[in-house]
């Protein structure tokens, strides 16, 4: 079980949280302008990386607030926690891209 550092309540057991899946997926501003393939990419395609993953968590049985979290999916180590709407920490973003290229 993960120990998740809620930015509002501090570290708590994973059973208090719901994982909201991959972060930073933006709903396209003008869906009508997209091809079916582009719409499918938004709806269904996922990064699913073996390495740094940016994801959303919800502290359901606590403060009831959402936040973003970066985690290494190989060993599940939590690397950073940051606010909804913020960009992931620059160093981790670079690491995610480098892994993505190999």
């Amino acid at each position: 079980m993960l120990r998740i550092p809620c930015p509002f309540c501090g570290p708590r057991a994973e059973i208090e949280f719901r994982c909201g899946g991959e972060a930073h997926i933006r709903r396209p501003a003008d869906p009508d302008a997209l091809s079916d393939a582009e719409w499918a990419d938004y709806l269904f395609m996922r990064g699913n990386p073996k390495g740094v993953h940016f994801e959303r968590w919800f502290h359901a049985h606590g403060c009831q607030r959402w936040f973003n979290l970066a985690r290494d999916t190989v060993g599940d180590r939590i690397l950073a926690v940051y606010a909804m709407g913020a960009e992931p920490p620059a160093g981790l973003r670079r690491e995610a891209e480098v892994r993505g290229d190999d």
């Binding site: 079980m1 993960l2 994973e14 059973i15 719901r18 994982c19 899946g21 991959e22 079916d36 393939a37 719409w39 499918a40 990419d41 709806l43 269904f44 395609m45 996922r46 990064g47 699913n48 990386p49 073996k50 993953h53 994801e55 985690r71 999916t73 190989v74 060993g75 599940d76 993505g100 190999d102």
Partner: protein, 416 residues
Amino acid sequence: MRRYSIFTLARNALTGHRDWPRAWRSPEPRSRYRVVIVGGGGHGLATAYYLAKEHGIRDLAVLEKRWLGGGNTGRNTTIIRSNYLHDESAALYDHALRLWAGLSRELNFNVMYSDRGVMMLAHNPHDVQIFKRHIHANRLNGIDNEWLTPAEAKAYCPPLSIDRTARYPVAGAALQRRGGVARHDAVAWGYARAADSLGVDIIQNCEVTAIRREGDRVTGIETTRGSIAVEKLGIVVAGHSSILAEMAGFRLPIESYPLQALVSEPVKPIFPCVVMSNTVHAYISQSDKGDLVIGAGTDQYVSYSQRGGIQVIEHTLEAIVELFPIFSRMRMMRQWAGIVDVTPDRSPIIGRTPVRGLYINCGWGTGGFKATPGSGHLFAWTIARDEPHPVNAPFDLDRFASGRLIDEAAAAAVAH
């Protein structure tokens, strides 16, 4: 291939079982093959076998990064059934179920397929309605599935508690008598041995690290044991599908989650069938060795850790103990996880990809062991002819753009 029989068994018994031949060669990889299959799980090995046997393609290798069946094939709870809701899924899974019946003879390898029946428990009015809908839909598709009252369910599986005061009382069950279990390792080994005897190179400890393309066509791969040129490439790597797709430059609608199972200490035969409960997340059968084989749920987050959270198995064991109070004092011996490849509609993807000559078979998620023979058979057809078999045609990658999903997620909640 030297055939196995009662006579070879007797002869080898006389020499203390020291002289059995190796079941397959382990050749060095060549620098080019007509077809390479990535992934030495059951699905990849079955694909190779049917490519060689039914399509005459022998210039063929299976590359496995670790050992045969060391992925989900060797980690699963081996529940086999075909009573899926939608017409497309019923056709797909029953295609496999019909192959299971003759598989040991086909491969000359005892895969220990046992059609002891799979009973799915209903616990509330919603379950009852859904299961009856399944039963009617299955009947229209010629697939056996029958409704049992709680008393009939108990008669079929005596350890089951049908106590009305239980937290999740049993309201009835759907039984597929042709369903059952098989020995997971034997399926991988049986296909490997049979494919090898048809000239297929089975190569372990060989990881694919890159995929080469020229324009929109695949031309070769890099591996930890050298580069290999290919005409066609089949990817069958379950939880690692997104990684291989990314090497080839396209994305998949897949997320990978740890799914857990555990086994108890071995005991004498007590549990005659397979029981599943999607509502309380419990899957249980007894292996021929005597241990109870118990399947649990997935973690809630994407991971490649092959470990799984303790609360997930706790939840399952609570349900098991409630349904089968007789097991409350049994000790659990081992726990593990496999990384399962889950699609948005909980149906697999078997077909062509945006890269020419590159085919993918993935997305079986929590429930692909049952499909192993059928999946290999259909994927071999797809690779050999560069077009899908009618049974797997609906399971293409394009369905996520066209919107023609095959939604077994809503139908089953959990897929096993």
